[in-house]
Amino acid sequence: MNTVWSLAKVVVLEMVRRKDFYVLFILTVLLTLTAASVNLFNDRSIVRYLKEICLLLIWLSALVIAITCTARQIPAEREHRTLFPLLAKPVTRGQFVLGKFLGCWLAVGLALASFYLFFGLVSATREQHWPVLNYLQAAWLHWLMLGIVIAFTLLGSIIFATPSSNGTICFACAAGILLLGRHLNKVALSLAEPLQSLLYTAYFILPHLEIFDVRELIIHDAGLIRWDMFALATLYAAAYTAFFLFAAWLAFRRRPLN
C-alpha cells in the first residue's frame, strides 16, 4: 500500500502544481458572482438559479479536471520515459494503475472540496439555512461518479492512441450517459426487436452516472437521500470502478512498455 500511496501523492502534487484547477475554479467563481450580481426584480433572496448555475459549472469543471488529469497520466509517463525508472523499482503494474487511479481520484476530491465549499458559501449568503448533510451527500456521490469516470479514462489511456482522443471519447461518453442514461429504457421500449433488446442490454450494462447527479435535489431543497440507497449507490460506484480498473490492469499488463 505504501507504493500505491506514494504514486498517488505524486499525482496529487502534479495537479496542485498545474494551472488547470485554478483556472477552472476562478472561472467558476467569476461566472457565479456575475450571475449573483444580476438584479432580478430587486429581490436578493432568489437563490435556486444561482445554485443551479454554480453546480453546473462545478460539474463541468470537475469532469474536465478528472478526464484531462487522468487521460495524460500513463501516456505522459511513456512519452517522458519516467515509466522506466519507476517500474525498475519493486512496483507491479497493478500497483502502478491503482496508484494513478488513487492519485487522480484524490486530486479531483480536493478540487471538489474547494468547489463545494465555494458553493456552500454562495448559497449561505442568500439562504437562511445551510443543509450541510445534503451537501455532503451530494459531494460524496459526485466524487464517486468521478471515480468511475477516472477509472474508465485510465482504461482508455491504455487503449487509445493519444490523450486527446481518449479525453474526447471519455468526455462524450460521460456527457452522453449523464444526459441520456436515465431515458435509454424508454427509448428501448419504443423500438422493435432486436434493437429493443440490444438497447435494453446496453441500458443495464452501462454505468449510470446520472444516478449520482443529485443537483436537482440540492437546488430544490429536497430532503436527504435515504441512507440505505446512499450506501447502495456507493457500492454500485465501487463495483464499476473496480471493473474498469481491473480491465485497465489487464490491458496494461499485456502492453509492451516501449
Binding site: T3, H80, F84, A88, K89
Partner: protein, 249 residues
C-alpha cells in the same frame, strides 16, 4: 557463491513490422553470470541486444525463453528489484518535482522508513553534488544535473546491484570523472555494477569483466586483463574484431 545476476539461455523475440518476418530475435541464447562486487561492462554495437537484455533484467519485457535471476530471484517477481538501482540512458524525471521530492517518492516505493529516507536523501544529494539545488524543480535543471538526479535516484535505496545504461552519456569530462569515481566507490563498498557503455576507454579503466554482444549473441566474455592479453590489443580493437568490423589500414 550465488551470482548476483544469472542469465541462462535467454531468448528475447519481438513481433516484427518488416515484411516477410513475423518476429525479430533481439537476444539469442545468452548465458551470463555477474558475481558479487564485480564491475561488469556490457558492450555491443547498436542493436546488439544490450537494451533488450537489460529490459529483461528490469522486468520491462518478459523473456521468450530462458531465465534471468537477480540475487537468485526470478526477474519477473517485483521483489527482485528491491535491491537494485537503475539509471536509464535518457534521464527524464517528473519535472514538476524537486530532487528532494523525487528521491522521497522513490524511497517511499522501496518502503524505506522516514528517518532513514531523510538521511539517505542528504547522503546521495551530497554524493552527486546536487545539495544546492535540492529544492528546485527538476524542469530547471541542466542536462548534467538531470543525469546526476538520475544517479541519485538509482542510489536512494542503497542498492546491492546497480544497472547503468550509458551512465556517462551527455556528461562533460568532469561529470564523467565523477561517475567513474562513484562506480569505484560502490565497488569498494562491495556493490555490483552492471553497465553498458560505448565509451570503451572508460570500460577498460573501470570494469573487472566485460561481455561483448553482437546481433543478439554473446561474442566473448571474461576479465578485461585476460582479454587484453589474449588478443594483444586494446579493448576497442578487440571489440571491432569480434563484431566483424574491417580493421583500420
Amino acid at each position: 557463491m550465488e551470482a548476483t545476476v544469472s542469465i541462462e539461455n535467454l531468448r528475447v523475440e519481438y513481433s516484427s513490422r518488416d515484411l516477410g518476418e513475423s518476429t525479430k530475435v533481439a537476444v539469442n541464447g545468452l548465458t551470463l553470470r555477474v558475481g558479487q562486487g564485480e564491475v561488469f561492462g556490457f558492450l555491443g554495437p547498436n542493436g546488439a541486444g544490450k537494451t533488450s537484455t537489460m529490459n529483461v533484467l528490469l522486468g520491462f519485457v518478459p523473456p521468450t525463453s530462458g531465465t534471468a535471476r537477480i540475487f537468485g530471484v526470478d526477474v519477473r517477481e517485483p521483489i527482485a528489484r528491491q535491491r537494485i538501482g537503475y539509471l536509464p540512458e535518457q534521464t527524464y524525471y517528473y519535472k514538476f518535482l524537486t530532487a528532494e521530492e523525487l528521491l522521497r517518492f522513490y524511497a517511499g516505493i522501496f518502503g524505506i522508513p522516514r528517518p532513514e529516507t531523510e538521511a539517505r536523501i542528504d547522503a546521495v544529494l551530497k554524493l552527486v553534488e546536487l545539495d544546492h539545488a535540492r529544492k528546485r524543480q527538476i524542469k530547471t535543471y541542466s542536462k548534467g544535473m538531470q543525469q546526476r538526479v538520475g544517479l541519485a535516484q538509482a542510489l536512494i535505496n542503497n542498492p546491492d546491484l546497480l544497472i547503468l545504461d550509458e551512465p556517462t552519456s551527455g556528461l562533460d569530462p568532469i561529470g564523467r570523472m565523477q561517475v567513474r569515481e562513484i562506480i569505484q566507490r560502490l565497488k569498494g563498498e562491495g556493490k555490483t555494477v552492471f553497465f553498458s557503455s560505448h565509451e570503451l576507454g572508460e570500460v577498460e579503466t573501470v570494469c573487472d569483466r566485460v561481455a561483448i554482444l553482437h546481433q543478439g549473441e554473446l561474442k566473448t566474455e571474461g576479465r578485461v586483463s585476460d582479454l587484453l592479453k589474449e588478443h594483444s590489443a586494446n579493448l576497442e580493437q578487440i571489440f571491432l574484431k569480434l563484431i566483424g568490423y574491417p580493421p583500420l589500414p
